[in-house]
Symmetry: C2
Subunit: 302 residues, 2 copies
Amino acid sequence: MLPFARVTVVGLGLIGSSIARAVRATMPTVRVTGYDADPATRLEADALGFLDDVADTPGAAVIDADLVLLCVPVGAMGEAAASIAEDLPTDAIVSDVGGCKVSVAAAIRAAVPDATLVPGHPVAGTEHSGPAAGFATLFQGRWCILTPDGDTDPAAVMRVSAFWERMGAQVEIMDAAHHDLVLAVTSHVPHLIAYSIVGTASDLEEVTRGEVIKYSAGGFRDFTRIAASDPTMWRDVFLNNRAAVLEILQRLQEDVTMLQRAIRWGDGDALFDLFTRTRAIRRSIIEQGQDDARADFGRAHP
Amino acid sequence: MLPFARVTVVGLGLIGSSIARAVRATMPTVRVTGYDADPATRLEADALGFLDDVADTPGAAVIDADLVLLCVPVGAMGEAAASIAEDLPTDAIVSDVGGCKVSVAAAIRAAVPDATLVPGHPVAGTEHSGPAAGFATLFQGRWCILTPDGDTDPAAVMRVSAFWERMGAQVEIMDAAHHDLVLAVTSHVPHLIAYSIVGTASDLEEVTRGEVIKYSAGGFRDFTRIAASDPTMWRDVFLNNRAAVLEILQRLQEDVTMLQRAIRWGDGDALFDLFTRTRAIRRSIIEQGQDDARADFGRAHP
C-alpha cells in the first residue's frame, strides 16, 4: 500500500527535485505537484518534466495534498510553511528535509500550529544545486532521520517512514536536539572546515591560486567538493545550529592544537597512533555501504 | 628517444609500483628492477609481475641502473640512499618521490654526495598502500614537481622530466623550499585536518561511533578517505616539513576562529561571502583537469 497518493514538494532544488524523481521511479501512481518561490526555477522544473504539475502559488500547490514536503533552505522554512498555511488540508501531513531540526521544527510549528508535523532530514546530497542537479537514486542506501516530538501521531510517523523507505532510504527516529549534535559532527563542522581551508588557501600571499589549483590532487581537491555546496543553504545551517556547531568546533580546535604541538615537538608516535586509528572508521563506512569502496572515491583515472 | 634504459625502483608501495607499471605501459622496452626492504613486499611484487626483476639486495638492484628512483617514506630516504651508495653506477641519476623536498634532498645528498640528484614529487596518489594498490595511469594528467638545485646538470633534469612526461605527467621545476610551502597548503595541512576531524568525531562521548558512520554521507566521509592514507608516510611528512605545516596551520586556525566568531554573532553575510568565493576554486580545479567533473567525485549511486 502506498503511504501517500498526492505529494507536494515546496522548493525544487537538488533535494526537492530528487524526491520528485524518486517518487516517479518508485511510486509511479503517486501524483507529485511542485512549487518554488522563484519563477525561473518553476519554469526550469516544468521543462525538466519530473513533476505531474507545477503550481503558480504555494496555496494551489498544497490544496489537495496528503503530504507536503518543505525542501527550502532552513532559514526559509518558517516563511514557506506560512505561505501554505491557509490552504493546507486539515488531514495533510507536513514534513521537511532541513539539515537542522530544533529550529526548523519550531519555525514550521509556529506557522502551521494545527498541522501534523513529522520533521525529517535525508542525509544525502551532492555539491550541485538546482532542479537539474537532482536524480532519482540520491536516497538509495542513505539514512533519513525523522524527529517527531512525543505528541505526534505514530501513524503519521509510520507513513512518512514508509515514504522514505520506498525511495530506498533507511529511516531512523531521533530526538531533534540529538540530531543537531550528530549532524554538527558528521556534516556541519566538516563543511565549515572545508570552506575555511579553501578560503585560507586562496588568500595566501606566498602561494598563488594557480599553484593551489595545479597541485590540488595532493588532497586539497577533496575539500573543494563540499566547499562548492550551496552558500545560502549552508549559511542558514550554521546560523540555525549555532550551539552544536560551536561545541564540536571547539573540540576540533583543541585536537588540532594537540597535533600542532606534536609536530612542533617531533612527537612521531602521537601522530602515528592517530593516523592508524582513523583508518578503521573509513573501513566501517565502506562496510556499511556509506561510501564507494573503490580507491579515490571511484574518480576516473583515464 | 627513451630518457633511460634501465630503471630501478627502491620501495614497492603505491607510488613505486605505479611507476613500474607506468613504465611498462608507456616505455615497454625499458627494463625495470625493483627492491623493497621488506621481503614480503618483494615476494608480493614479484608475484604481481609488474617488474622485470626483483633484486634481493639494494646493491644488486642498482648495479646497472641509469635511473634510480627512491620511493620510500620521507623519513627513510637517507637510509635508502645509503643502502645503494656503494653499488651506484657513477653515471646513474638518482631521483625520489618524497612529499617534502628540503629535508629529503639533504638526506639523500648526505648519503650519496657524488651522485647526480634530481629530487622529484609526483602530486598523485590514492588512500591505498602497498604494491597491489598501484596502477599504470596514476600519473596521467597530474603534476610532477622537480626541485634540482642550481648546480644540477640541466641534461639530467631534462631526462627526468622526459621520463615523467612519458608516463603522462606534466612537469614543473620549483625551488625546494617553495615546494614545501605549496604542498603544506595543497596536501599536508588538508591531510592533518582530515586525520584530526576523524579523530575528534570518534572520541566524542555524546555521539556514538555508529552514528558517525551511519550519517557520514553528510560530508564527513569525504575526510575519511585521505585519513585512511599510510600512517608511516604521513607521520614522516609532518616531521620533515614542520615549519611550513605549522605556518599554514596557524593561518587556518585564525580563519576558523574568524568563522567561529561569525557563527556566534550571527554574521550571515561573512559566511555567505566566503561560501560563494570557494565555489570558484572548485570550478578552476575541474576546468584544469585536476578533479572529476561528475557530481560527488563520480561516486556510484546505484
